[in-house]
Amino acid sequence: MPIGGIIISVRPEKTEEILFVLVQFPGVEVHGHDEQGNVVAVIDAPSTWVMEKIVKKINVFEAVLSIGFTYLNMEDEVDGPAPGERIPGLFHGVELDAG
């Protein structure tokens, strides 16, 4: 259940429009915005994969100039991999067998 903090830069004159759009996304909370078109938002998504989808969808809007992550918490994922799980491409140990 990752939580991400993002800054969305939008065309200042379109800020209100985008704010309206953002609240439609499940898991997205707007925490503040300023006159230069910076929007501070938090995404609470069930997985980083979903988070990625949300970011992509927000990025589609023409008024959105950029989206930047400043924070990502994955504390329920930091315990290390679940038992038996492998990180692909990292460990290439051989299987235990004859000598």
């Binding site: 939580i3 800054i7 909370e29 925490h31 938090v42 400043t70 504390e75 990292l90 290439h92 067998d97």
Partner: protein, 796 residues
């Protein structure tokens, strides 16, 4: 609680974003509160080097989730290196061993068995070996990473129970020469001072140590000292320019093995320019020729006559000049306080003890000892090489409490403490490490217990000794937390509890003992070693029908293994076996150590004294209780060390002597090996932590640009490094690190192509028996351009 935690995190996330654009959010104050009510912090030591950093492990819902430094600890003052910050991630790793695994033959597949079966097999095999081939056919090979309680109990059962001194460990590979140096120069093992000298030193002489990478937190203290005091000088003497050189005022680069000449030339300058401390010499010093004959200053002066800075510079080569040697000697001798630091560059040598002696010589000669900031300080590589192995009886020739095996009265003291008849402990030292693995090769050792170390990677010329370990007539049991290259060649794997999953003491470089109390449960199935040894010894006693084996563990009956058992072992060791010895630890009880942010520096004969932190400087009256209780006269320094009956410090006349193997036409390069900041030893732990693995996923060969240009090697090229013993193929790093004519390889990599100990040489110091990992000759050639490589962590 969970909900509020998520709310807290969301606010943190928003604040983090807002901080970028200078936006103020209404809940700024709430947002940066630690929000860690559910988390508890448990104090202990780091286990990934000899510094002895104190840490607190954050535990939530029974699992380790975070780690932070302890700011009141006099070792690290709260600071952590990267390995230290991340090592706890090993705990929950899926590769953890959790079931005893057995195979009759090393060519069979392992089968999971129960603990009862496993202990029975281990006892059966050791008992069989003793019955059929005698006590000398079994051995223990341990580690400077075991807790003191573990090393002590293992050696007790082997020496007192099985009646063999075949008790060794990997500290033989790393600090045996330092032991030899301290004993022969100062009459007592382990440093006189400690880290507290760093903040008072005005000159640092760092030789044969890449402190920045091997002891990063101590390096921080040195760096801080230099930054805060512009007049502080740092001299780094090493054939390789390393990260440590970044803070050096002077880097002395020389051909590997010529440092004995450098050190003697420094002494030459000190004497020639009368920079020595005449009073210190007359009060406290004796001069010894190579044959242990007492000579005098005049003889020393004559001996040094040939080591002029000019001649020395020509022998040392590299960037050395006579002026640099003079400058170094002057800084060393005339600074208010000089602190020397070294590690494996000095110890892992055929002349390791001599090199240690020559550093001590300079300190004795100039009186740069015993006063604040001045010391001759050998940094230890492992967290418990000093405490567990040097003090706890973990080497074949020393019993607990710094007692040489061959001294009958000292053996008797140990026998008495254990309630054993006189003569129970054999009078002969056992096999030292290289002799032990040679005996394995020859089939003389029939049953070997390897604990918490991986000789299949860490022995020099390892392929030679792998042959022995693969023999079907050598039964090997291994206790560890992960599969290693060594578990490949064993019959029985016993899954052990990790640090913070059990309780015990580590003793770091500066005579400091620190307690780590269990904070989390080990994965189900993994057990603390002290429990394993106790249960095994009981079965051994039955199978060998020897009640004295049972007696080794009798007093521990019924104690739970997480705290009560190690505490009972520590109490026995500290109260009975360090009493009256120079490492007197009677005051360092669990109760005392639990109260300390850091720990206790011995000698610490009483609890009251231990609670002050113990002895910061040995041998100084008023600072060291034993200097007072053992005083022979009114002088402020009292050298009561057991190895020097005259109570003096000894300056040794030691000649330059060549390494075992020097470059020739066929193998024209020096090869040296070493550590890198991100990895620990054989990387079985650090290689499983993604942050650390990725930072240095494989070993490189470092080549001087001039040599690389001659051989047409550019960075990233695959290069073959070959010696008379074996070869590696590694990617090249081309930079002004190693001196011309020398290559350097990291030794953490487990991949068969990059396992550098296949190439290193197994010559060893005749005194300390420590192998010469640091110097051999090799040839190199370019094989191809860059290749995609895969990190390799053996994963049974």
């Amino acid at each position: 609680m969970a909900q509020s935690r998520r709310e807290f995190l969301k606010k943190t996330a928003a604040l983090s974003a807002a901080s970028y654009i200078g936006m103020n959010l209404p809940y700024a104050k709430a947002g940066v509160a630690p929000g860690a009510e559910e988390q508890t912090w448990h104090r202990g030591s780091c286990r990934l080097c000899g510094t002895g950093c104190r840490v607190e492990l954050g535990v939530k819902n029974g699992k380790a989730v975070a780690l932070r430094g302890v700011k009141d600890a006099r070792t690290n003052f709260g600071y952590l290196c990267m390995k230290g910050m991340l090592f706890w991630k090993c705990m929950g790793h899926p590769d953890r061993l959790t079931k005893p695994l057995f195979r009759e033959k090393k060519t069979d597949k392992f089968k999971e068995i129960s603990w009862d079966q496993a202990l029975d097999i281990a006892a059966e095999k050791f008992a069989d070996a003793v019955k059929q081939n005698g006590s000398n056919s079994v051995g223990y090979y341990g580690s400077g990473q075991c807790l003191t309680e573990e090393t002590y109990l293992f050696q007790k059962v082997f020496r007192g129970g099985l009646q063999t001194n075949n008790v060794e460990g990997n500290p033989r590979l790393c600090m045996a020469s330092a032991v030899g140096g301290y004993l022969t120069s100062f009459g007592a093992d382990e440093p006189i001072g400690g880290y507290a000298d760093i903040e008072q030193a005005n000159c640092f002489f760092i030789i044969g140590s890449n402190t920045a990478e091997a002891h990063p937190v101590l390096f921080r203290r040195i760096m801080r000292r230099k930054l805060d005091n512009k007049d502080v000088k740092v001299i780094n003497a090493d054939p390789r320019v390393s990260q440590t050189s970044r803070i050096a005022d002077l880097h002395l680069q020389f051909d590997p093995g010529t440092d004995l000449t450098l050190l003697n030339a420094m002494a030459h300058v000190i004497i020639e320019e009368k920079l020595y401390d005449e009073k210190f010499l007359s009060d406290y010093t004796a001069f010894k020729s190579g044959k242990n004959e007492t000579v005098d200053l005049e003889a020393y002066r004559k001996f040094l006559a040939d080591y002029t800075p000019e001649k020395a510079a020509a022998i040392c080569r590299g960037n050395m000049t006579a002026d640099k040697i003079r400058q170094t000697a002057r800084w060393f001798a005339t600074s208010k306080a000089t602190l020397s630091l070294w590690t494996m560059g000095i110890n892992q040598r055929k002349q390791g003890v001599w090199a240690n002696n020559l550093i001590h010589n300079l300190h004795i000669l100039t009186g740069q000892l015993l006063k604040p900031g001045a010391d001759s300080l050998s940094l230890t590589g492992q967290p418990n090489a000093c405490g567990g192995v040097r003090e706890g009886g973990g080497l074949c020739h020393i019993l607990p409490g710094h007692r040489p095996v061959e001294k009958e009265n000292l053996r008797n003291q140990v026998e008495e403490a254990w309630g054993m008849p006189k003569g129970r402990i054999p009078a002969e030292p056992g096999y030292h490490t290289m002799a032990m693995f040679t005996a394995v090769n020859e089939g003389k050792i029939k049953a070997l217990w390897v604990n918490c170390t991986s000789p299949m990677q860490s022995l020099p010329n390892v392929e030679l000794y792998a042959k022995g370990m693969k023999r079907e007539d050598v039964f090997i049991v291994c206790t560890d937390i992960f599969p290693t290259l060594t578990t490949q060649v064993v019959n029985l794997i016993l899954p052990a509890a990790f640090h913070f999953e059990k309780t015990g003491v580590y003793g770091c470089t500066e005579r400091r003992s620190q307690l780590t109390v269990k904070a989390v449960d080990a994965p189900k199935g993994a057990m603390p070693e002290v429990w394993i040894v106790r249960e095994w010894a009981r079965l051994l006693a039955i199978k060998l029908q020897d009640p004295l084996i049972a007696k080794c563990v009798e007093s521990y009956d019924g104690l739970e293994p997480d705290y009560a058992l190690p505490k009972a072992i520590w109490d026995e060791y500290s109260q009975k076996l360090t009493k009256g010895r120079d490492n007197d630890l009677r005051g360092a009880t669990y109760e005392v150590m639990k109260q300390m942010a850091d720990g206790v520096q011995w000698p610490a004969p009483t609890e009251e004294y231990a609670l002050t932190g113990g002895t910061v400087k040995k041998f100084v009256r008023g600072m060291d209780p034993m200097a007072d209780s053992h005083a022979k006269d009114d002088k402020p320094y009292q050298f009561y060390g057991p190895a020097h009956p005259d109570g003096k410090l000894w300056i040794w006349l030691r000649e330059q002597a060549a390494p075992e193997e020097v470059p020739d036409a066929e193998y024209p390069f020096y090869l040296s090996t070493g550590r890198i900041v991100d990895h620990w030893h054989t990387s079985s732990m650090t290689g499983r932590i993604p942050e650390l693995l990725r930072a240095n996923p494989y070993a490189f060969v470092e080549i001087n640009p001039k040599d690389a240009a001659k051989l047409g090697i550019i960075p990233g090229d695959m290069v073959e490094v070959e010696s008379r013993r074996g070869k590696n193929m590694l990617p090249a790093k081309v930079y002004e690190g190693p001196t011309q004519g020398m290559v350097f390889v990291y030794w953490h990599d487990q991949h068969p192509d990059r396992l550098i100990n296949k190439v290193t040489k197994d010559a060893f110091d005749p005194g300390s028996k420590e192998p010469e990992f640091k110097i051999c000759s090799c040839r190199i050639k370019r094989i191809s351009g860059p290749q995609a490589l895969t990190p390799f962590i053996y994963n049974g």
